[in-house]
């Protein structure tokens, strides 16, 4: 899922400074699961901002709402009235939700309250890790189900660099070396010969280097 992290309060306060009536809009899907922008975080952030505004003697109002998914028109249409009443919408959804609001409400100021961080999972409660870079050309079938694009700091395709030591990455001694993980898993699967195959340069045009990406499914279009 998409993982996000709430922006520092000072940055959020600077973003909303010009506006009086602010709607804080949460999202009930990915950011709820990553504890960054669900109903609970909307409430906590609203309280913090009310206290801060009060201390500064500012006349600001903060309305609260959370929709099931900010990246779908039908869900954001459901809060159209609240959005219209606000000077600005502070979205706690990922960047997709923020942009969906901006596109659906062309005359409304929309501000991001979180930093969309990566595609990943919680490996334990409170520990979120990156697992996919959405590179558009999945190599997991070659690498024992462990992604060197998302999990190697140099996105190497041909094995570990000279900085792999005791299973850890030279960039961060807390981080596993992806290629050590791949090596160990290939060994377990009896497929170590795959480590000897030369991988050609990656086609980054399928990643963001090819420009913004789009999928059109003619079979599904109405």
């Amino acid at each position: 899922m998409i993982k996000a992290k709430q922006k520092p309060l000072a940055e959020i306060r600077a973003l909303i400074a010009p506006y009086q009536k602010i709607l804080i809009l949460g999202c009930g899907t990915c950011v709820t699961i990553s504890f960054a922008g669900g109903e609970k975080e909307v409430g906590l952030l609203a309280s913090s901002l009310r206290i801060a505004a009060g201390m500064d003697g500012l006349q600001k109002t903060f309305a609260e709402a959370t929709v099931q998914r900010q990246c779908e028109w039908e869900f954001i249409d459901a809060v159209a009235d609240q959005i219209k009443r606000a000077d600005a919408v502070l979205s706690l959804a990922c960047g997709i939700g923020v942009q969906a609001l901006a596109e659906r409400y062309p005359d409304k100021v929309v501000l991001p309250g979180v930093n969309t961080t990566f595609l990943g999972m919680a490996i334990e409660h409170g520990v979120l890790v990156e697992r996919c870079r959405a590179c558009g050309d999945c190599v997991l079938g070659l690498t024992a189900g462990i992604c060197p694009i998302a999990r190697c700091a140099k996105n190497l395709l041909n094995g570990p660099c000279g900085g792999s030591q005791k299973g850890k990455c030279e960039v961060d001694p807390e981080m596993d070396c992806a290629w050590q993980l791949i090596y160990d898993r290939l060994a377990r699967l009896g497929q170590l010969d795959r480590m000897e195959v030369l991988q050609p340069p990656k086609d980054w045009a399928k990643d963001y280097d090819g420009g913004p990406r789009k999928i059109v499914r003619e079979d599904l279009r109405l």
């Binding site: 299973g167 030369l198 050609p200």
Partner: protein, 307 residues
């Protein structure tokens, strides 16, 4: 001859090679290059010029290489995948070859996190193995990475690096094999202080027949101080500095540590020279180019052959 460089002649004629290294300055000052060049001239077969080593911005490898040629020293330029995509790499290599540079070391590069611009975007369009294959395609098939043909190909002796001390140890000879299959003509290893471990690495390399397909130069370098040794031992990823290496330096009075470091380096050269499959040494006396002549003299590697 693939490139016709002095290094290629030394290696292909069976001489035990000795290469040096020169770190460009963090400035536009050509005098630093002249001073360091004078310390290396005539004592090594070719001089590596690092490419933004440890991800710190320095004078470019190709420009320093060109200056060295003017000073009568054969350069080995280094090219990393960190700072350039395949367009920039190919363009720079065409230019380097046109300027007369004939030796090239292909590297992935230290991560930008370590350097003085940690907020920079790391490119890594290619990795070192892909880079080697691309250069071989340019040289031997006159083809760009995209497959288009060129009129005049760049001529390089293609080098690769390998770290025998990185993990997984069992995989390292196979990773070297990949680089040789991709097109590496010579290899320079990471700094060797753990000679027994390097000997075991070379045994496996020779079992795979890699020493017959590629010239392998053992990386060595003098230790200046006990502090430097400890730093390399504890803080440099992929470095293996055994306790007895530090012990030998600790056994001499403080003012003699440098002298002992030079002797120790020469002793390591003598040891690795006897290991089957080792075709030469690459002496990395980082910011201590003054030491190179004495090390090579003590190791019995001077004078260098003139071919």
């Amino acid at each position: 001859m693939k490139a016709g460089s002095n290094l290629e002649k030394v290696l292909s004629s069976g001489h035990f090679a000795a290469t040096g290294e020169l770190g460009p300055p963090k400035s536009a000052d050509p005098e630093v290059i002249k001073r360091k060049a004078a310390l290396l001239k005539g004592f090594v077969d070719a001089v590596n010029i690092t490419d933004n080593q440890t991800a710190i911005v320095r004078m470019s490898s190709i420009s320093v290489g060109t200056m060295l040629m003017g000073l009568g020293i054969e350069p080995t330029i280094q090219m990393t995948c960190r700072d350039r995509n395949r367009l920039a790499i190919q363009a720079d290599l065409l230019g380097a070859s046109a300027l007369g540079i004939r030796n090239l070391l292909c590297l992935t590069g230290d991560h930008q996190h370590f350097g003085n611009h940690p907020k920079a975007r790391g490119v890594y369009d290619l990795d070192s193995v892909c880079l080697i294959a691309m250069v071989k395609g340019m040289r031997d098939e006159k083809k760009f990475d995209c497959g288009e043909e060129m009129d005049v190909e760049p001529r390089f002796l293609i080098g690769a690096a390998e770290n025998p001390f990185a993990d997984p140890f069992d995989y390292r000879p196979y990773r070297l094999a990949k680089k040789i299959t991709a097109g590496a003509d010579f290899v320079q290893t990471q700094l060797i202080y753990n000679v027994p471990k390097f000997r075991e690495f070379m045994r496996r390399v020779c079992d795979l027949g890699l020493d017959k397909r590629c010239h392998i130069l053992a990386g060595v370098g003098p230790i200046k101080s006990i502090g430097m040794a400890r730093y390399m031992q504890k803080s440099v990823p992929g470095m293996d500095v055994p306790e007895d290496i530090i012990g030998r330096l600790k056994a001499v009075p403080k003012e003699q540590v440098r002298k002992e470091g030079i002797k120790q380096c020469a002793d390591i050269i003598r040891e690795v020279r006897d290991i089957p499959g080792v075709a030469g040494v690459h002496v990395m006396a980082i910011e201590w180019e003054e030491a190179v002549q004495e090390i090579l003299e003590l190791a019995g590697l001077l004078p260098r052959p003139t071919l």
